[in-house]
Symmetry: C2
Subunit: 344 residues, 2 copies
């Protein structure tokens, strides 16, 4: 048997502003053997997510920074190829927080089995994974949508936003999406059934366009983006509005603290609630969320789109594309294995 | 009997920035007679409150703007001198939202009877009135203080802040007050029992001083002030912090929308909650709040200070002093009546 290589992607430089490929390096290492209670996994899909940009800074946050000259990590779907755990057998698909690499060793408690009969295994990184759960708990627990309320979702064609809007439709809301291209706005109206969509890049007066799209004002704002888009939405909130802070992608690459209009007077005079959250706050309720999302998926109440890039070596490009690209839906990297590896 | 005069204070000009006395005018009118179901009141105390500044602008908010060339209004304690209501007799003290004037006619449903045996009647405008209820519901319902948590209160020597800090002490919190003079900080530590106090005017580095006063970080921020003081407090919040937006007095006189660092990333990464409220949201629970505050008052767990200016004609000055003055505690105007009037 030929010596197998485990290709890994290291963070070799902390980015300033939008990352470029010089921050990343493809390196080769040996494939390790699983110890007792561990499994050896072949990587099938890697998730790239906006929050990872924060971990590339050397700053304390809710997750520790990535270390320089070590393999990057995030959501990964893998196939068990060797198991020293009683919980898994070869051929099982699992999801966990693992390296950007061809092969991973994982402790049995680090990964969860995926049922491939419910949906394609890649959905464990999207609609049935972190983005889906983020949409589910952020919207239902903080946003608390009620029949006939108006919700605005920024980043509406992204992995989280597209699910938020559809769950809000299931709850009878008037759903307005904000996205950055006509391709995206056409998609969220035509495919996902949002009531209205605004291309913030081509709209001359976002505040005015929003007021037209939300004739009864905004009851819920699910914010994936932040910055000036949020300024515009906040100007239209109703009394007792709920603002769900999920992401601030417009600010992640900022090199200094961004300034904007102070929002507290607007929140105060409208008795509005603004709440940040991270999905780990809801870990005890993940099963509830996954089951409900899977049910909606099987009932065809929920659609999703994946944008799949092929090849481990293209993971940095896929990640950078989150901030610059025109992709719709969940951004994934499909990891192919060469013939020798496949035959192992 | 000599013809009696009802002096009234009109808003005659909408202020730009901090109001001055030219915005107000003392006018004379006749005293009206109560109709059936009404009472005639002699004004005893007038409350001046920061939120009134907002009503002086011609802008829609949670309360409509004051009208020009009409009598100003707000919290008033009055004594019934003539009753055409079965609910009141002459000599009763009542509180309600009434005019800045010597005499008022009130519908019986507009005013509530005060029990003068619990505390001086002026407390119906302070610790047992709107400021006390604001402190009570804002802190307990939104702030949700827990034993050993750290709370920071801005405007700590004001009518609301002084009560917030004391209720937080009753709940076992580490209480840090921010105020604008050494007289105030000495008062809130020495008289009210706050654990620490910061004079933001004399502190060269508020962020640093706050971190020293809050070695375990900030779990609750009760914000009466806004602006740069809030920027400093927000930099020290813990995960799952609650920020109670009660007032933004530092911004009320702003002539354009004030700018500041965007706060959403900080709220997001700390899973923090920020909630605005107005006390009318809690109207169904006012009795609960008043009873609890009265109990604490009688148990000597709650202290209060009033700053009393004498004379209806000095009401504008007292109001302006909220933004410029060095007063501690609830700002009231005591309305004296001349001998003729008194003998009526």
């Amino acid at each position: 048997m030929q010596q197998q290589i485990n290709r890994q992607i290291f963070l070799v430089k902390r980015p300033t502003g939008i990352p470029d490929e010089s921050c990343f390096k493809l390196v080769s290492s040996a494939i390790l053997q699983p110890a007792s209670g561990q499994v050896l996994l072949k990587t099938r899909f890697i998730s790239v997510d906006p929050y990872m940009r924060g971990r590339m800074n050397n700053r304390k946050s809710y997750v520790p920074p990535f270390k320089l000259n070590q393999v990057l990590s995030g959501g990964v779907v893998g196939e068990v190829i060797e198991s020293k755990s009683n919980n898994f057998i070869a051929g099982d698909f699992v999801v966990g927080n693992l390296g950007w690499q061809d092969y991973s060793i994982a402790d049995e408690k680090e990964v969860q089995k995926i049922n491939p009969e419910i949906a394609p295994v890649s959905t464990a990184l999207g609609v049935l994974g972190m983005p889906g759960l983020t949409a589910y708990f952020g919207l239902l627990d903080i946003g608390q949508p009620k029949q006939a309320e108006t919700i605005v979702v920024s980043g509406a064609a992204g992995a989280v936003g597209m699910i938020v809007g559809q769950i809000a439709k299931i709850h009878g809301c008037h759903v307005v999406g904000i996205a950055g291209s006509d391709k995206k706005t056409n998609y969220i109206i035509g495919e996902l059934g949002f009531d209205a969509a605004i291309n913030y890049r081509s709209t001359p007066d976002l505040k005015k366009t929003l007021k037209e799209a939300c004739p009864d004002g905004v009851d819920i704002y699910f914010d994936n983006v932040g910055g000036e888009i949020s300024d515009a939405v906040l100007s239209s909130i109703n009394n007792n509005a709920r603002i769900v802070l999920c992401g601030q992608i417009s600010l992640y690459n900022a090199t200094r603290i961004p300034m904007g209009p102070r929002i507290q007077p607007q929140l105060l005079t409208h008795s509005a609630l603004m709440k940040g959250f991270i999905i780990r706050n809801y870990v005890d309720r993940f099963d509830e969320g996954r089951n409900q999302l899977a049910n909606w998926l099987q009932e065809k109440k929920l659609k999703y789109t994946e944008n799949v890039v092929e090849g481990l070596e293209n993971t940095p490009k896929a990640f950078i594309g989150l901030f610059t690209g025109e992709n719709i839906g969940k951004q994934l990297v499909k990891v192919e294995h060469d013939a020798v590896t496949e035959k192992r």
